[in-house]
């Protein structure tokens, strides 16, 4: 390598026979790639015309595109000039004169603007007011967040609980160690009212929370199905352990102890629903959940 090295330059064609030979091979390969691409494109059209098949479509499209791509790259690498050239970087910053000229021109124009302070101030105020006014249609995007976040249709208690098809539930419908999802009657499409009914074993060590001793019916307890972390339905009931596991982020709730969180990111227990039996022996809710359901928000506690 010589001392003072400018980027080397080569001509596109060498004069040696090895290079010629290699060149012909590459040319044939490249041309073959284009031919493969053409055939694949035709095959793709045929496949499509015959009814289509996803794997064939994908592979044939890949062959078409890939054939063209390989052909072009071979062409570029072997037949296009690969000289290394240098280009100067001129200073990006404008020269001092240019900046001065700009400043002078801008100041000249601005003087007629800037001197009229009252105009500038009132015009600015008007534009700002317009900007603020134009934000107001954003308000139409959604309703004011209201009591809906803190209440569910169970506020119409006493109300029967029903399965998704609308059929009410008797305690005998639920086996020991069984669980089902229920809603308040007439509100099976209320996303915030999904409720878990769980029948625990009598000897499983259920400890009712203070003040909720009569919230269960025949060893059946009801909790909100919405995780208090980010609201995924807590659909995993591990019957032997008495634990509810949320599959989204692994929050775990102890059914025997008021569904308090025992692992994972959830910080609050699943709200509990008070249950009783009506005169026909169906399970009813006697009030709304013990706390707002689902994930937390700023004023949840107010």
């Amino acid at each position: 390598m010589t001392d003072l090295v400018e980027p080397g330059v080569t001509g596109p064609d060498g004069a040696d026979p090895d290079h010629e030979e290699r060149g012909r091979r590459v040319e044939l390969t490249s041309a073959a790639c284009f031919v493969v691409a053409t055939l694949a494109a035709i095959a793709l059209a045929v496949v499509y015309w015959q009814g289509g098949q996803p794997q064939a479509e994908g592979v044939l499209l890949a062959l078409t595109l890939g054939g063209i791509g390989v052909g072009i790259v071979l062409w570029a690498k072997h037949f296009m000039p690969n000289d290394e050239v240098a280009e100067e970087r001129h200073p990006l910053q404008s020269s001092e004169e240019e900046i001065a000229e700009f400043s002078a021109d801008f100041a000249a124009g601005q003087s007629s603007l800037g001197r009229r302070r009252i105009l500038v101030a009132t015009a600015g105020g008007a534009c700002a007011a317009l900007g603020v006014a134009l934000l107001f249609p954003v308000r139409s995007l959604g309703p004011r967040p209201g009591r809906g976040l803190k209440e569910t249709p169970y506020r119409n208690a006493p109300i029967r609980v029903v399965i998704e098809s609308g059929v009410p539930v008797r305690p005998a419908d639920l086996e020991v160690d069984g669980f089902i999802t229920v809603w308040p009657r007439g509100h099976t499409d209320a996303a915030d009212a999904a409720t878990l009914l769980i029948r625990y074993r009598s000897d499983q060590g259920f400890e009712p929370r203070p003040g909720r001793e009569d919230w269960t019916v025949d060893d059946i307890v009801a909790y909100s199905k919405l995780c208090t972390h980010v609201g995924c339905p807590v659909g995993l009931y591990q019957a032997q352990l008495g634990l509810l596991l949320c599959p989204c982020h692994q929050s775990t709730f102890d059914v025997m102890q008021g569904a308090r969180p025992v692992f994972g990111p959830a910080a609050r227990p699943l709200p509990q629903l008070p249950l009783a039996l009506d005169d026909e022996g169906f399970i009813i809710a006697t009030g709304d959940f013990s706390a707002p359901v689902g994930p937390g928000f700023w004023d949840r506690g107010r």
Partner: protein
Amino acid sequence: MSDAPAPETPRRRRGPEHLLTHRLARWVDSRLGTAKLARTTLNKVFPDHWSFMLGELGLYCFIVLVLTGVYLTFFFDPSLNQVIYRGSYAPLRGVEMTEAFRSALELSFDVRAGLVMRQIHHWAALLFLASLGVHLARVFFTGAFRRPRELNWIIGCTLLILAMLNGLFGYSLLDDQLSGTGLRIVYSITLSIPLVGTWLASLLFGGEFPGPDIISRLYVIHILLVPAVIVGLLTAHLAILVRQKHTHFSGPGRREDNVVGERMWPTYAAKALGLFFLTSALLAFLGGVFQINPIWIYGPFDPAEVSAASQPDWYMGWLDGALRIMPGWEIRAFGFEIPNPFFPGVLLAGLTFGLLYAWPFLEARVTRDHAEHHLLDRPRQRPVRTALGMATISFYSVLFLGGAADVLAATFGLSVNAILWTFRFLCLLAPPVVGWVTYRLCKELSARDGVPTASTVTVREIPGRLRHREEPKQAEPESQALRS
């Protein structure tokens, strides 16, 4: 301008002026005066190191996304009206679902080439984000974000965020069980923002979750608003790149005041075109051969149901992992609260992108280096930056693994609780360890090269030619820069 052919071309051929392309160029030029600019463009020099082509990969993925996406818009219907499915997929026949989900099923089963288009679109989205990730890493580890390229770094970070959001919104359009669960999480994280969270969530979703509007709103955002902004920012990104010229590694003849490489025309343009075709070929192959997002298995979204192993697409995995690893802490006082998801979902995300945006300015301030740089660093020459970068990557890698905790547990027969506890400690312990090891490695490699690291060199602006003359044994690192 004579019509006689130039002396060296054979007389039997007409001169280039008669080619169609030439006549076309003259037609345009006589109206716009483009010849000078066009010539400048043709002769633009682009350094051709392989690592400079990573950003292009993102660009080509984006082009494929737009092309396949337009096709999909002709069939997809973002309506939340309830319908009964009567299409050709038997296990869902008679099931009630939204029009959005139904149209996605129709696209997958009853539209010719519909499924392959959908799958190419989704694979392209995954690879778009992956390309941006490797491109970001290359720019970071070589110091290409330094002055005068801070603006392009900011544009790039914005493109990254927009790409992530558009991917999230895109796969949520289908209203299947998996993506609907993801939207629920988006809603709840929005809800967790202090003071304004409940308002933001209600305005975005048109009410309480799920709300009647979210899919149609996300549709407009996904096909129009975000792509428009991406196109604008991409154009600016490339324009700035052309104006400032690309950076290059040091090597023979390479200095701060020049750029060495190959000309745009024809070689660089041909290689770029070839890479576009090859990238599209790979995406087409993936789209046909590897099944992705089988929404017919997930079923239509029901807010009371969820599947085990629910994860977002890979690029959101760090956020999902952060949500899982975070212990159950909340702040509550006077009836107000900052709920748990705020910390990993909003605070961590904000810190992540805030630091990302601020990095060029932070580094310039700490190193007191406000000079222009057009020569790139080799990562080993900047051990502190490289170590910090690797430490950061290790932190987010632990978060990514955290997002897969339940799948890891099920696959390897481990306790998911133990895995999450391990990651809680690992996300704090791994970064310093990885950072330290990286630092030592950089120092070691530099010592072997005989090239001093940035921390031991006091003079920055050494023209390449001068250095070459003074230390003739520099051949090795430069040719390595060329070869790697």
